[in-house]
Amino acid sequence: MNGDLQLNADGSLRHLLTLDGLPARILTQILDTAESFISVAQREVKKVPLLRGKAIFNLFFEPSTRTRTTFEIAAKRLSADVVNLNIASSAQSKGETLLDTVANLSAMQADMFVVRHAASGAPHLIARHVAPHIHVVNAGDGRCAHPTQGLLDMFTIRQHKGSFHNLRVAVVGDLLHSRVARSQIHALTTLGCPEVRVVAPRTLLPRDVDSLGVHVHYRMETGIKDCDVVIMLRLQNERMQGALLPSPQEYFKYWGLTPDKLRLARPDVIVMHPGPMNRGVEIDSGVADGVHSVILNQVTYGIAVRMAVMSLLAGN
């Protein structure tokens, strides 16, 4: 899907909008490139000149701290000029349309837009309307995709497990509303992971979620049994009580990841979480801070992966 929109005629990456339909060779290329950027962070001077003179606009139509910051750091390490726009509080509230905002910023000689938007497909819309030299990176759109998060999760798994070919991976939590989960699932299935499970109460699973190539488990006991990787998803506050779930307490009791439940997984299991975490709701502190947790590594790798994506798109 959207293959034509995100790839150039020669098969190289033009935009990064979704991992859905992106070929394995591109995913691997991004992960390999990210690997080479890990060392940059350990240098005295943490900069490479790959994007010198390029203007990157962070267009955040929805609030975000972590993702925006890591994109900003990644761009600056590539020597790009970065402009952060928190549009939720400016132009759109004055009635300017999304495409008008983009057209105006394009006129300021932008080379890349990093876009976060509450509506699924917003970055696709922008990508269809920008000039040919402008690249669009999706930093999270609605419930659709969060490709750089998905990629950094793949990077994390590869760093710890080597390859994807013998892994059993469980994604646990609010799949229905999660763009992160969708990107993870597409990446895992593309990279050859033989068993991807989703674990959640029926209310938090999209209908036909099995069409994404995953095995559906309602209960943790079967869902994370013998898994090599357990990925926990954030549960938004507004969804903890109501018609989706009765209470955060009940959710934690049945789907929260505790040291006890984790013992069902493989002894060398790694635990991941895209953040920000709700301790005591989806994850127990004993697990979040425990030996199996690679949650902080994910954050570090996130910068290298975003550097890789941006340099592959617009590198000199």
């Binding site: 349309t97 495409l99 509506a119 497909g121 696709h124 609605g142 969708r182 999209p206 209908r207 994404l212």
Partner: protein, 426 residues
């Protein structure tokens, strides 16, 4: 004005005629089909050799966008587009601004459409005041002002008691009620069919039970009240199965589908094409195929365009924020022909679905091509290919899922009330 239409393949669902005949028109009526009337000297001769001549199309849902949405389209532009689509009679839903809930508004609309060229316009009145689903409208007065039926258009009717009362009140005057079955709670915030594509793209979904749960309520209340109910825009296999059972049980109901739903499915959403953001949502291929066979079977009584012209600004938005609907009045005929070709359905049966049968639902004298009938005709080339584009569409709404695609079958002449209202200049 006397017109002679020579050598066309005349198709009339009422008499079952499908043969080459000459047609003679005088004083707004069809004078004869085949046999030359005495002393007939036409002012105009149309050579319809190689063309099909059929009753003018009757479209059950065309939004003219007036009053209130003139920035999307105008009455003049959409009447012209409808004529170019071979439509000679159309029903317009009440979802204008303000909605058609007062006799004065309806009289004004009737007055304006009567005084401009184009199809005959039959307003559908609002079932409830402001379409809010709370207070009944003055249905009897509205009917006298020209409303042929009453509906909520796409506005929700949350309170089932109001629905029951509305049906009971309509029964009092034997007025038809058109309802699109959709449970407002199950459909809340949804923009796409709850299926594989919504799961993939992360679009807020509308499950099939949104249609079937509401439909069950409507069917029960129809049985209870004896109301004349028409079900608008059926979208699912499960819903059609329920309609089949209800009809089999003798319930007096009719139903229609929109032309886009005969061909498109959720799969057409994969690129977030906002022109495929429709109401009801495009459902699965299974549902789409059920619609196609239900049409062949005769279960579905009519195909309509559900024409909804939308301005570019309201469409060039992320899928879920875009104004729903597609402009389609000019595609009603080619999309119906496409279905007939693909399903190997006789042209006569296909034409019936866009002429005589919707005319019956509307309760108007139209859709019949026989001597003595009003001279409302459509003359089209069934083979002629054309490309749907911003230039070829006359509607001010350029929001079509078919932009850039080629369709077969094009209207060459539209005759309304014995006058050539539209003629294609090749």
């Amino acid at each position: 004005m006397k017109i002679l239409i020579r050598s066309g393949r005349v198709i009339d669902p009422e008499s079952g005629l499908d043969a080459v005949r000459d047609i003679y028109i005088a004083a707004g009526r069809i004078v004869a089909v085949g046999t030359v009337p005495a002393d007939f000297h036409p002012n105009l001769e149309i050579d319809a050799g190689g063309l099909v001549v059929c009753p003018g199309l009757v479209d059950l849902s065309v939004r003219l966008r007036e009053p209130g949405f003139e920035y999307m389209a105008t009455l003049e532009s959409e009447m012209r587009a409808a004529a170019a689509g071979g439509v000679t009679s159309l029903a317009c839903p009440p979802d204008t601004d303000p909605p058609l809930d007062e006799p004065g508004l309806v009289e004004m609309l009737k007055f304006r459409t009567r005084n401009s060229p184009g199809p005959r316009v039959y307003p559908v009145g609002a079932l409830t005041w402001k379409l809010k689903g709370e207070r009944l409208t003055e249905m009897a007065e509205l009917s006298e002002a020209g409303c042929v039926a009453f509906s909520q258009a796409d506005a929700p009717l949350i309170d089932t008691r109001v629905l029951l009362r509305a049906l009971e009140y309509a029964v009092t005057f034997d007025l038809p009620v058109w309802l699109r079955p959709q449970d407002p709670h199950l459909a809340r915030d949804g923009v796409a069919h709850d299926g594989v594509v919504a799961a993939r793209l992360g679009l807020p979904a509308i499950p099939v039970p949104a249609e079937t749960v509401a439909l069950q309520t409507i069917l029960l209340l129809t049985r209870e009240t004896g109301a004349r109910v028409h079900l608008a825009r059926m979208s699912s296999r499960a819903g059609l199965d329920m309609v089949r059972r209800a009809k089999h049980d003798g319930l007096r109901i009719t139903c229609d589908v929109a032309a886009h739903h005969v061909h498109l499915s959720e799969m057409d959403l994969v690129d977030f094409d906002a022109n495929c953001h429709l109401v009801p949502p495009l459902r699965s291929i299974r549902d789409r195929d059920a619609i196609r066979s239900a049409l062949r079977e005769g279960l579905v009584d009519a195909v309509c365009s559900d024409h909804a012209p939308v301005n570019d600004d309201a469409k060039e938005l992320p899928f879920q924020e875009a104004e729903p609907g597609a402009a389609g009045v000019e595609l009603l005929l080619p999309l119906t022909l496409k279905w007939a070709r693909e399903m190997q359905v006789p042209l006569l049966q296909a034409i019936d679905l866009v002429t005589r049968r919707p005319a019956r639902i509307l309760g108007i004298q139209a859709g019949i091509l026989m001597a003595g009938q009003p001279a409302d005709l459509c003359i089209f080339d069934p083979e002629r290919p054309w490309t749907v584009s911003r230039q070829t569409l006359l509607s001010l709404g350029k929001n079509s899922p078919y932009l850039g695609m080629e369709l077969q079958g094009q209207v060459m002449y539209t005759i309304i009330d014995g006058h050539v209202d539209f003629k294609r200049n090749h």
